[in-house]
C-alpha cells in the first residue's frame, strides 16, 4: 500500500509505527535522549516536507531510519569536535521502572556498554545499532545503508568481536 509522506493520515500511521524505532536508533547513537528527540523531530519534518510517495510503510521506515542515522552520526561528530572525548560519553539520567540494587547494576552495565559502543568505528557501530536497537535484519540494514547483505554480515561480526574486546577492557564482567 502506498504511503504519502505529506498525507495527514499516512503520516500519522508512519509516525506511530516508526517513531519508536528511530528514537531507539537516535538514542543509541547519541546516548542523549533530548538530542534524540530533536533528531527524530527533524527527520519527520523532512519526511513530511519532501512529500515522497513510498511503495510501502517499510520503505518509508527505511528512509526515516537512514535520515535519522545520518543526523545522529552528524550530531555525534559535531559534539565530538566540541567536547573532549570523555565528556561526550556522559550519560543522561533516564527514568526507569527498575529500582534499588537492580537499578545500580543496570546503570553500571549500561555505561560500560555505551562507552564500548561509542568506541566502535562508525561503520561497525551503525550496523550494530540498526541490528540490535532497530530490530532490522541483514537485508533491511543493507537496504538502509546501501550496502550488500554480505557486507552487513561482515560488519555485524566485526562489531561483535570488537565490542567484546572493548567491554573486556572495561574490566567489568557482563553476565
Amino acid at each position: 500500500m502506498e504511503v504519502k509522506s505529506s498525507g495527514y493520515e499516512s503520516f500519522q500511521r508512519v509516525y506511530k509505527d516508526v517513531f519508536p524505532v528511530i528514537m531507539r536508533v537516535a538514542y543509541h547513537v547519541t546516548y542523549n535522549v533530548d538530542a534524540a528527540e530533536d533528531i527524530c523531530q527533524e527527520a519527520f519534518i523532512r519526511f513530511y516536507n519532501r512529500g515522497i510517495t513510498f511503495a510501502s510503510i517499510d520503505e518509508a521506515k527505511y528512509w526515516l531510519i537512514r535520515v535519522t542515522k545520518n543526523l545522529s552520526i552528524n550530531y555525534v561528530k559535531r559534539k565530538g569536535r566540541e567536547q573532549a572525548a570523555f565528556d561526550r560519553i556522559k550519560r543522561q539520567p533516564l527514568p526507569s521502572m527498575k529500582t534499588g540494587e537492580d537499578q545500580v547494576l543496570g546503570d553500571e552495565t549500561r555505561e560500560v556498554v555505551q562507552r564500548a559502543i561509542q568506541q566502535l568505528p562508525e561503520k561497525l557501530r551503525t550496523v550494530l545499532i540498526l541490528k540490535e536497537y532497530g530490530d532490522l535484519n541483514y537485508r533491511e540494514i543493507g537496504k538502509i545503508l546501501h550496502i550488500t547483505e554480505s557486507n552487513v554480515k561482515v560488519r555485524a561480526h566485526r562489531a561483535r568481536l570488537q565490542l567484546l574486546k572493548l567491554i573486556d577492557q572495561e574490566e567489568i564482567h557482563v553476565s
Binding site: 534524540a36 523532512r46 513530511y48 535520515v67 545520518n70 552528524n74 540490535e132 567484546l164 567491554i167
Partner: protein, 244 residues
C-alpha cells in the same frame, strides 16, 4: 572442524539458513570450545538487549514531537480543507463575495433600459431591502438612471432566507435592468473569507521554501553516505560468498 566466528555470528542474528543452522546447533551441542564461543556471543547480545532504551522511557518525547509536528508541519489541516472548497468552487466564491458586499453595504446603481417611460423619478428611488425590492423596482422611472440606495443593514439584509445580492441581481436582470455594483466604502474591514486566501498563499510558499532547503540538506547527507559506502564496500566484503 570447528565453527567459524562469522558463522556463529550469523547464527545468533538468526540469519543462518538451513541446512547450516541445524549443523551449527549439532556442532555446538558436542563441541565445548564452540559452545563457549557461542555463549560468549549470546551473553553479549543479551546485554545489548538489556541496555536498550525502553518505549516507556520516551513516550513523553514521542507525544511532544507529535504535538510540535502537528502545530508546525500541518497546522492548516482543517483550514486548508476549507480554503480548498472555496478556492475551487465558483458559486461558493461568488456567494462569499456577495455576502461580503452585502455586509459592508453597497450602493446599487440601477441603469434602466434605453427607452423608459416617464413617471415620478423621486418615487422610483426606494430604500432597497429584501422584502421590498420586488415591489418598487417594477415601477417605472422617467430618468434613464435611477439610483437605488441599498444600504443593507447587517441584521436584516443578510439573513440566509432573504435575498442575497446574487439573487437580487438575477431578479433585476430578469426585469430588464442593467445593474452596476459599487462599493461605497473601501476601507471597511474585510470579511474573513477574503483574508483566507492571502494567508493560504503565504503558508504554501513558506512550505515550498522549507522543502527546497531541506531537500538539499537531505541529499547532501545521502551523498556523504554513498561516498562512504563506495570506500567501504571493497574492504569489508570479503570471504562470504559461500554463505549466500
Amino acid at each position: 572442524m570447528c565453527l567459524d566466528d562469522q558463522v556463529l555470528s550469523s547464527y545468533i542474528d538468526g540469519e543462518l539458513q538451513e541446512p547450516w543452522k541445524t549443523q551449527v546447533e549439532e556442532h555446538i551441542s558436542h563441541c565445548k570450545s564452540c559452545r563457549e564461543r557461542y555463549e560468549q556471543f549470546a551473553r553479549l547480545d543479551q546485554t545489548l538487549f538489556e541496555t536498550r532504551i525502553q518505549n516507556d522511557e520516551f513516550t513523553m518525547h514521542q507525544q511532544r514531537v507529535w504535538k510540535y509536528l502537528e502545530k508546525t508541519c500541518m497546522p492548516s489541516q482543517p483550514k486548508r480543507f476549507r480554503h480548498k472548497r472555496f478556492a475551487f468552487s465558483g458559486p461558493a466564491m461568488a456567494a462569499a463575495a456577495a455576502v461580503m458586499v452585502a455586509l459592508i453595504g453597497v450602493n446599487i446603481y440601477l441603469v434602466r433600459g434605453t427607452d423608459s417611460p416617464s413617471t415620478g423619478g423621486e418615487q422610483g428611488i426606494p430604500t432597497l431591502t429584501a422584502e421590498q425590492n420586488q415591489i418598487p423596482l417594477t415601477g417605472e422611472a422617467d430618468d434613464s438612471v435611477i439610483a437605488v440606495s441599498a444600504r443593507a443593514h447587517r441584521t436584516s439584509a443578510i439573513a440566509p432566507q432573504e435575498l442575497s445580492v446574487d439573487e437580487l441581481l438575477f431578479l433585476l436582470e430578469q426585469k430588464g435592468f442593467e445593474v452596476e455594483l459599487k462599493r461605497s466604502d473601501a476601507t471597511t474591514p474585510v470579511h474573513s473569507y477574503e483574508t483566507g486566501s492571502p494567508a493560504q498563499e503565504e503558508e504554501t510558499s513558506g512550505a515550498a521554501r522549507y522543502d527546497a532547503a531541506s531537500t538539499q540538506e537531505a541529499e547532501s547527507d545521502d551523498d556523504a553516505e554513498d561516498q562512504e559506502n563506495q570506500e567501504s564496500t571493497d574492504q569489508d566484503d570479503d570471504g562470504w560468498s559461500d554463505w549466500d
